[in-house]
């Protein structure tokens, strides 16, 4: 059985994912490209006598290494040297889509050209002469409509025999003199560059390609090479002044001619009023654009959390039933109490707390998937870019931030919709300040105890404080870490399309399984550690456990904030695992049963909290502000670690806590003076 490796390439929004799913079915694997957080999707296509690994390259417009996605794609083609490339193009927009093909053919890669979305082309009464196209380019051309399965078998057949396909000797004619200079330089590069096609290398050297320049500069004969390249440049400069854009112009020029020759259009496209423009008359309308966007975000938020909450409850119930059931069984077979507690309260409840995130993550990805696949996401960025730009963020940062009001974890995961790493990081760093749903019970408890008259205002203030701090920190980080970089908003606004159910389901499945595997391990470890600290030494009062002892050690830190007691410290420490635990911890500290804590809607607890005298009004306010701002839960840290690595996850944990401390201290110190 022969083994093949194929790369799948193409512009964004051309149905590449759909082709990938049709080719590989359930045989998929998602990882990261080495060294970067860009996702690498791989799948297997197994036929009777071949096994093909299909690597899905990021959606790109060109193989020039100007963006990280472009760089990854080009490096893959050059360094991993796949047996061939399947290039998916939007057949209804060949003029732009075929540019990348010109680059691919210049790289001398065996290429199969897939004209996708032929249904649209036929509807618009455009005819494409695929036979002629194939003859001119000397590569196989397949008409396809992947969303309906058309052409998929043909692509599979062609992939199977790609090892015997000839490399196309198609060349763009750059004009006699330029071609002469290129040939001469290519000849000079022969045997000097192993991995690269010498003609391609020559063209790139003439184009000032930064990476090719870097390769030349470390070559032992770099001086002679540079001299030779300069000579060729001077030769070309006699006829064309801007050499670095000359090759791009020529390629587009050629594509333009090719499209004219191979397509026949019976309709005047300029007069066409399509559905997309009608929809956009509302969605990006100057007056309605922002209100509609805000409404859609609100609807997304409601959809995810209103539908998700009962599901979370169901999962939590199942888990606790399962935990006590397992606990009983383990007890009855005579396992020591401590082991039973570890398995039932530590591990099963820990796993359960991971699982309980799944409904909202699944629903969130359904919502994001619909927004993305329909084409609205680009409009959202278009409408919001100005505001977000002023705040130091990117237009697309808005979505993760809104999601963050529900839960930081899916918010962090939603930063994937941002292309530039800098924008992703910046958004992730300030995301924890968006007051998530799990913090609400803390506000509820404290407002019931200390601020009964204006509880609504206090809770609202938390949201506002969170946003203000996020904006301030975004500005600070931008000027500290990412000063020079302004990522441009060169963004296609693709036609609106109805999302494919199958693609959405794939997306949800991947996100959830990734979350369980990666973030799950971090949360589980954290829960077990806290269980350990809260249980040992065995059989002592709450006040004597390691957790309480640790609380006493940290307590002095909170003295300037007015809550330097071990109870508050323990509650905050447990909140590091999950903010939901904070209220429960206060309950345990005051020696209340679980029913008491839950049943009377915190009234008993809030009464006890008030009477305990460990907070006054000012330090109580400081405490909830601290709860809002300090290190997000384990799950969120786990998600940040997965997206950006340990360093950023730890940095986020520490700096948010520092900000929280400063805020709480300021509130207490200034507040005490005023009141």
């Amino acid at each position: 059985m022969k083994k093949l490796k194929i790369a799948l390439a193409g512009n964004p929004n051309v149905g590449k994912t759909c082709v990938f799913n049709s080719l590989t079915g359930s045989n998929q694997h998602v990882g990261n490209w080495p060294g970067v957080t860009v996702e690498k999707k791989e799948g297997k296509l197994i036929t009777q006598n071949s096994e093909t690994t299909i690597v899905d390259l990021p959606g790109i417009y060109s193989f020039s290494p100007n963006t990280i996605d472009e760089k990854i794609s080009r490096d893959f083609l050059i360094n991993e040297n796949p047996d061939g490339v399947v290039l998916i193009v939007d057949a209804s927009n060949l003029e732009r889509n075929l540019y990348i093909l010109m680059q691919l053919l210049e790289l001398k890669k065996k290429t199969i050209l897939v004209l996708n979305m032929m249904d649209i082309v036929r509807k618009e009464k455009i005819t494409i002469d695929t036979v002629k196209l194939s003859e001119i380019l000397k590569i196989p051309v397949v008409e396809a409509c992947a969303s309906k399965g058309e052409g998929v078998d043909k692509i599979k057949d062609l992939i199977e025999v790609i090892d015997s396909q000839e490399v196309s000797d198609f060349k763009i004619n750059y004009g006699e003199r330029v071609d002469g200079a290129i040939e001469k330089l290519a000849e000079f590069f022969q045997n000097k560059v192993e991995k690269y096609d010498s003609r391609w290398f020559a063209i790139k050297a003439l184009e000032h390609d930064p990476e090719v320049n870097a390769i030349i500069s470390v070559n032992s004969e770099s001086k002679e090479i540079i001299a030779e390249v300069d000579k060729a440049k001077k030769e070309i400069a006699k006829y064309h002044d801007e050499i670095d854009t000359f090759f791009i112009e020529k390629k587009f020029g050629y594509v333009s001619g090719l499209v004219k020759e191979c397509t026949h259009n019976t309709k005047d496209l300029q007069l066409r009023i399509d559905i997309t423009e009608k929809i956009d008359a509302f969605l990006t309308n100057r007056l309605l654009g922002i209100p509609i966007f805000l409404f859609l975000m609100y609807a997304t938020f409601q959809f995810v959390f209103v539908m998700g909450d009962p599901l979370i409850g169901i999962i939590e119930n199942i888990v606790s039933i399962f935990a006590s059931f397992t606990g009983n069984i383990l007890e009855s077979i005579g396992l020591p109490d401590i082991l039973v507690s570890l398995i039932a309260d530590g591990i099963i409840e820990g796993v359960g707390s991971v699982l309980s995130f799944i409904p909202i993550i699944a629903l969130l990805y359904l919502a994001i998937g619909i927004l993305e696949d329909s084409g609205y996401m680009a409009r959202a960025a278009f409408v919001m870019d100005k505001i977000m730009h002023v705040l130091g963020l990117h237009g697309k940062s808005f979505i993760p931030m809104v999601v963050g009001f529900g839960c930081t974890v899916p918010g962090v995961m939603a930063t994937r919709t941002l292309e530039s790493k800098k924008d992703r990081l910046l958004t992730m760093l300030v995301l924890p300040f968006m007051s998530c749903g799990a913090r609400l019970p803390i506000y509820a408890l404290f407002t019931a105890a200390f601020f009964t008259e204006n509880s609504g205002n206090i809770v609202f203030a938390m949201y506002v404080i969170g946003i203000v701090v996020a904006v301030i920190m975004a500005r600070i980080f931008k000027s500290l870490f990412f000063r020079s970089e302004v990522s441009p908003l060169i963004m296609e606004l693709p036609p609106y399309r109805i999302p494919l159910f199958k693609n959405l389901m794939w997306k949800i499945y991947y996100r959830c399984s990734l979350f369980v595997r990666k973030a799950g391990t971090v949360i589980l470890a954290g829960v077990v550690v806290i269980w350990f600290l809260g249980t040992f030494p065995q059989g002592v009062d709450v006040e004597q456990t390691y957790l309480a002892q640790a609380g006493k050690v940290i307590a002095p830190i909170f003295k300037p904030a007015g809550f330097g007691n071990w109870q508050a410290s323990v509650a905050l420490a447990s909140g590091v695992v999950a903010k939901e635990i904070v209220v429960g911890t206060f309950g345990t500290i005051f020696g209340m049963s679980e029913e008491e804590i839950e049943d009377e809607e915190s009234m008993v607890l809030s009464q006890k909290l008030k009477e305990s005298g460990i907070f006054n009004k000012i330090s109580a306010f400081g405490f909830i502000v601290f709860s809002l701002l300090y290190v997000p839960c384990f799950a969120a840290v786990g998600a940040i670690k997965k997206e950006a690595g340990w360093a950023w996850a730890l940095f986020t944990s520490f700096y948010t806590t520092a900000v929280a401390w400063v805020a709480a201290v300021l509130i207490y110190q200034i507040g005490s003076v005023i009141i």
Partner: protein
């Protein structure tokens, strides 16, 4: 004149792209090449970015990017 000077609905023929090489290349690979016609389709609600039509597709650019595209107004 540069692209930001065109009003909504107006068209311009691209003469040249200035600015740093990376931005220039990115714009060109998206289809902003010499002699191509660009139409100003729509301004975002706050006036920036701007939606353009080029090569029969829609693209948005910030004004800070579009100002590097030199155009000549095309009368309909």
């Amino acid at each position: 004149m540069n692209l930001t000077e065109l009003k909504q609905g107006e068209r311009g023929k691209i003469l040249k792209i200035t600015g740093d090489k990376m931005l220039k290349q990115r714009l060109m690979t998206m289809g902003f090449t010499q002699n191509e016609t660009v139409k100003v389709d729509k301004f975002a609600p706050l006036g920036d970015p701007v939606e353009y039509v080029i090569k029969n597709y829609h693209i948005s650019l910030r004004k800070s990017e579009a100002k590097f595209i030199e155009v000549e107004k095309v009368e309909l």
